[in-house]
């Protein structure tokens, strides 16, 4: 059972610990500052917190003592171009650790949609040009933000040179050569927000969140703007999971740490009304690869709930029992039985 909970919020980094059967706030580093991404590096225990200071830009901090103290390290940035005409990092949207045999290697996904790599625990970063220079990038567009962004990075546990990224709105991208080259892998997804002739364009899909089964890495789940999709062949082909209830719209997805057929979602009513269906917040779980779903609401508000669980707002512990989710309206829920209560 997980005894620690780390929350990246618009109001700081909340570090909770279970005491007497309940989670309590232990410390709040960066109180008042928006924390846009968080990574606990399983290789060395370091905790990374990305900030987006409203006035003073994007920052990255690292803690080597479990969040008691932080040092500011270098944040990813673009090279300055003549006349100041180049891009600037507007937000670090996700952070990922490299492979177990790549100590110090980190990946960062940003808005605008770029991938950065660090080989020295965030002391320096380099832009992954093979993705940035893809001509398709000109077709990408923002989803929820003015510019497109990389919000999901999956490092294949079998081979850390294999990565999958998800971009809102730019589809799913795959590399098997440590980011030397990329290919778009969104085939099977569809976009109802596009004109009919662009509906199946892989390059403009909006995967809201991508997760990979740790034990069966060929199995992937996506909560997309237009539904839930699953792949069993490392994103070569996506299949819609239309059994999701109570709706197919949402942002978050979590996959079971051992069972690739089990995944959780937190549906919202629909694109044009981003609140829980009928004001009743529910978690949807499948345990059969998406053929059927159960929905759970015990302990969650049953009426007048307006919470939206955003992309990174749902998490499951390494045992697959403890779930936690945080909403855009500032609520936090935890479950110790796989989301049932």
């Amino acid at each position: 059972m997980a005894d620690q909970l780390q929350l990246a919020t618009r109001k700081g980094l909340f570090l909770l610990a279970r005491r007497g059967g309940r989670f309590r706030v232990e410390r709040v580093p960066f109180l008042g500052d928006p924390v846009t991404a968080l990574l606990e590096d399983r290789r060395d225990g370091a905790l990374y917190a990305a900030l987006n200071l409203g006035h003073f830009g994007v920052k990255l901090h690292r803690s080597d003592d479990g969040g008691r103290s932080f040092v500011e390290v270098r944040a990813p940035s673009f090279a300055a171009l003549e006349g100041g005409q180049g891009p600037s990092v507007a937000q670090i949207w996700t952070l990922a650790e490299g492979g177990v045999d790549e100590p110090g290697v980190l990946w960062a996904g940003t808005i605008p949609a770029a991938l950065f790599r660090s080989a020295d625990r965030g002391e320096s970063w380099s832009l992954v040009r093979s993705l940035w220079e893809r001509p398709e990038r000109r077709s990408w567009f923002g989803g929820g933000y003015p510019e497109p962004g990389v919000h999901s990075i999956c490092v294949d546990p079998r081979d850390p040179r294999t990565l999958l990224l998800a971009i809102s709105c730019g589809g799913v991208w795959f590399t098997s050569d440590a980011a030397a080259s990329f290919e778009c892998r969104s085939r099977g997804m569809y976009a109802e927000y596009m004109p009919p002739e662009r509906r199946e364009d892989p390059n403009i899909q909006d995967p809201h969140r991508l997760v990979q089964s740790p034990t069966h890495p060929d199995v992937l789940w996506v909560q997309h703007h237009n539904g839930v999709f699953r792949s069993t062949d490392l994103a070569q082909r996506w299949t819609e999971v239309d059994a999701i209830r109570p709706s197919k719209f949402g942002f978050a997805v979590a996959v079971h740490p051992r069972d690739p057929a089990t995944a959780w979602f937190v549906p919202a009513a629909r694109d044009e009304r981003r609140v829980p269906v009928d004001g009743c917040l529910r978690v949807a779980r499948t345990r059969d690869g998406g053929r059927s779903f159960e929905t759970f609401g015990q302990g969650l508000p049953e009426e007048h709930a307006y919470d939206l669980v955003y992309r990174h707002g749902l998490s499951v512990d390494p045992a697959g029992e403890e779930l936690a989710m945080g909403s855009t309206t500032g609520h936090l829920w935890a479950s110790s039985d796989g989301g049932e209560r």
Partner: protein, 89 residues
């Protein structure tokens, strides 16, 4: 020499005491104040070296006109205030 004063909101993140600086323009004065401290520079300037959108600079009570080039002149007795713009919340 012009004096440069940074908002307390910035002090929360990095130590930036008021100081006397040289320079005939806002840019020159700011760059001297920030020195080679790339970390501090990143709080006021974006990746492209432009003044951050939600940072505003006043010279003797007037907001600078040349936000891009920061070429507004400063006099030896000028007071330069680097503030957070409320556009940024």
């Amino acid at each position: 020499m012009p004096e440069i004063v940074f908002t307390r909101a910035l002090e929360r993140h990095v130590p930036v005491p008021a100081r006397k600086v040289g320079g005939a323009t806002v840019r020159e004065a700011l760059l001297e104040a920030l020195g080679g401290d790339g970390r501090l520079r990143g709080y006021l300037f974006d990746d492209q070296g432009l003044l951050r959108r939600h940072v505003v600079v006043f010279v003797d009570g007037e907001a600078v006109h040349d936000r891009q080039g920061l070429g507004d002149p400063v006099a030896p007795g000028s007071r330069i205030f680097v503030m957070q713009a409320l556009t940024g919340g």
